[in-house]
């Protein structure tokens, strides 16, 4: 399937605080924009893959969205792997098309935790609330602490990631947070859940994004102007909650990436630019290690010296990622991967021909990988 399927169009809403819209309206706007970007009519779409909104669950949400777009898709519904859902749905779309189940698919995501409820992120973890164990952030803090204890990773090294990504976002006109960051400012950033500083943590944003998936052949027939090839994809589900994970500093991201690299016939050294899920800086550090850009435990040294900033060896999150562009779980990274391959990013990596994108959900509980390229 390498290179046989493409992302034909991308679309999104504004990011930030969008009161009074609701996720259905946000999704429809993103789908409308993705169709316009692909230059195709809604009538050719016969599959709709939707991420369940994290901020508010409702039954058969995929059908609610289909109705709002007057569609009766052959394949349609929601999938729930948290932030890993997006790339997983793109891969399911490719497989469904390949199996003759549908022809043109939209993959869509909307969420409104900024004006809706943040309950999903701040919740207590069952009876452990009696010990004061609350929030998603705490799980990442536990993982980060272990990484520091096991490998001697330093706060400044997590800061390298935050500084690079925030500075990329600062130049993106669509970014919700356009405030550049220095390493000194990062180090002064207050602890929320030590060792997590405020600037290690992503934004909470309302917004939606959608992409259109079809075969390269179909894209040619429909006159799609800037299709971007999907070279590989993979998944890996760590599944265990952080406290039960056999090794806190390793996840199934490794398996997800191996599957995707194998399909693409590429290795980490062949990647020109990366969009790495950055809900927390520790997630980026561990993903870079699990993907094989460096060895386990060496991520701290590896990111030093601006290696992950534009101009470095492996620029990451060139539109600002979750730390700066929007806290939306994952599809913004796919869209930026598409822009890099089209050559239209605001922080375009010169001559980039391959891009790896990671999506993950929960506390590195789920993972999916996408490789785009020429």
């Amino acid at each position: 399937m390498r290179g046989k399927y493409v992302i034909a169009g991308i679309g999104h809403t504004k990011f930030g605080r969008l009161p009074g819209r609701g996720t259905v309206s946000l999704n429809v706007e993103a789908c409308r924009n993705a169709l316009a970007d692909a230059g195709i009519e809604k009538s050719v779409v016969d599959a709709l893959f939707v991420k369940v909104p994290t901020s508010r669950y409702s039954s058969m949400y995929g059908q609610t969205l289909s109705e709002a777009m007057a569609m009766q898709p052959k394949v349609g519904g929601v999938w729930d792997q948290g932030g890993a859902t997006n790339i997983s749905m793109i891969s399911f779309a490719c497989m469904a098309i390949d199996a003759g189940q549908c022809d043109v698919a939209i993959v869509s995501l909307a969420d409104d935790p900024k004006t809706g409820t943040r309950q999903a992120y701040e919740k207590a973890w069952g009876d452990d609330a009696a010990y004061g164990w609350f929030s998603v952030a705490a799980g990442y803090g536990l993982t980060m602490q272990r990484h520091m204890a096991e490998y001697g990773t330093k706060p400044e090294q997590f800061g390298e990631i935050a500084v690079a990504v925030r500075n990329h976002g600062a130049t993106n006109p669509h970014a919700a947070l356009r405030v550049p960051l220095t390493l000194d400012k990062y180090m002064e950033s207050p602890f929320i859940i030590e060792p997590l500083k405020r600037d290690d943590i992503c934004l909470v944003s309302d917004g939606a994004a959608a992409v259109v998936v079809m075969s390269e052949t179909r894209a040619r027939e429909l006159g799609v102007k800037a299709p971007v090839r999907i070279l590989g994809f993979g998944q890996g589900q760590t599944s265990y909650d952080v406290p039960l994970r056999p090794v806190l500093t390793e996840t199934m991201a490794k398996v997800s990436a191996q599957t995707a690299f194998k399909m693409a016939g590429l290795a980490p050294k062949d990647i020109d630019v990366a969009q790495i899920y950055d809900c927390y800086t520790i997630a980026v550090m561990m993903t870079l290690e699990d993907y094989g850009f460096c060895r386990k435990g060496e991520g701290g040294h590896w990111v030093e010296g601006g290696r992950v900033a534009v101009g470095g060896e492996l620029p990451i999150n060139t539109s600002g990622g979750l730390l700066s562009e929007t806290g939306m779980p994952g599809l913004q990274l796919v869209m930026e991967g598409v822009r890099q391959m089209r050559g239209t990013s605001v922080n375009q990596v010169k001559g980039a021909e391959t891009c790896v994108v990671s999506n993950q959900g929960g506390i590195m509980t789920t993972h999916s990988t996408l490789i785009l390229g020429h």
Partner: protein, 130 residues
């Protein structure tokens, strides 16, 4: 102000009752000898439904920990900053807990010993660095 106390289920009730009596227990599978927490109805390794509550030695080690500087629940505001740690028992199961003597310096792999404490009338399994 309400404190977020455990809400025992028929499955977890014996765990909380034992703590009240001064014993930390975990589940051990009769078929494959696997040991686990938190409570669940089937052994996650061999999926058998036959298991027993077993008393822990109370000895373990710190796997990791965090220090809250922000309270996500009103009841914890006055305790800031407070620690939450992940402890692995010598018998294998892990649990979320608090270290009662953090001034000794919490560190990964440091040995700990069970110190059951009362929290709003409920016995919690906390640990002390040794």
């Amino acid at each position: 102000m309400s404190f977020p106390l455990p809400e025992p289920t028929p499955l977890s009730q014996p765990y909380w009752d034992s703590l009240k009596q001064g014993r930390l227990t975990f589940q051990r599978c009769r078929k494959c000898n696997n040991a686990w927490l938190p409570p669940r109805a089937e052994c996650p390794e061999c999926l058998a439904a036959e298991w027993d509550w077993t008393a822990a030695s109370g000895k373990g080690r710190v796997v990791s920990w965090v220090i809250y500087h922000h309270a996500y629940h009103e009841a914890f505001k006055e305790r800031l900053p407070y620690n939450v740690a992940l402890v692995e028992l010598d018998e294998g199961p892990r649990l979320i807990t608090n270290i009662v003597n953090p001034e000794m310096g919490i560190a990964a792999e440091r040995p700990v010993i069970l110190k059951i404490e009362d929290e709003h009338g409920v016995a919690l399994a906390r640990f002390a660095l040794i």
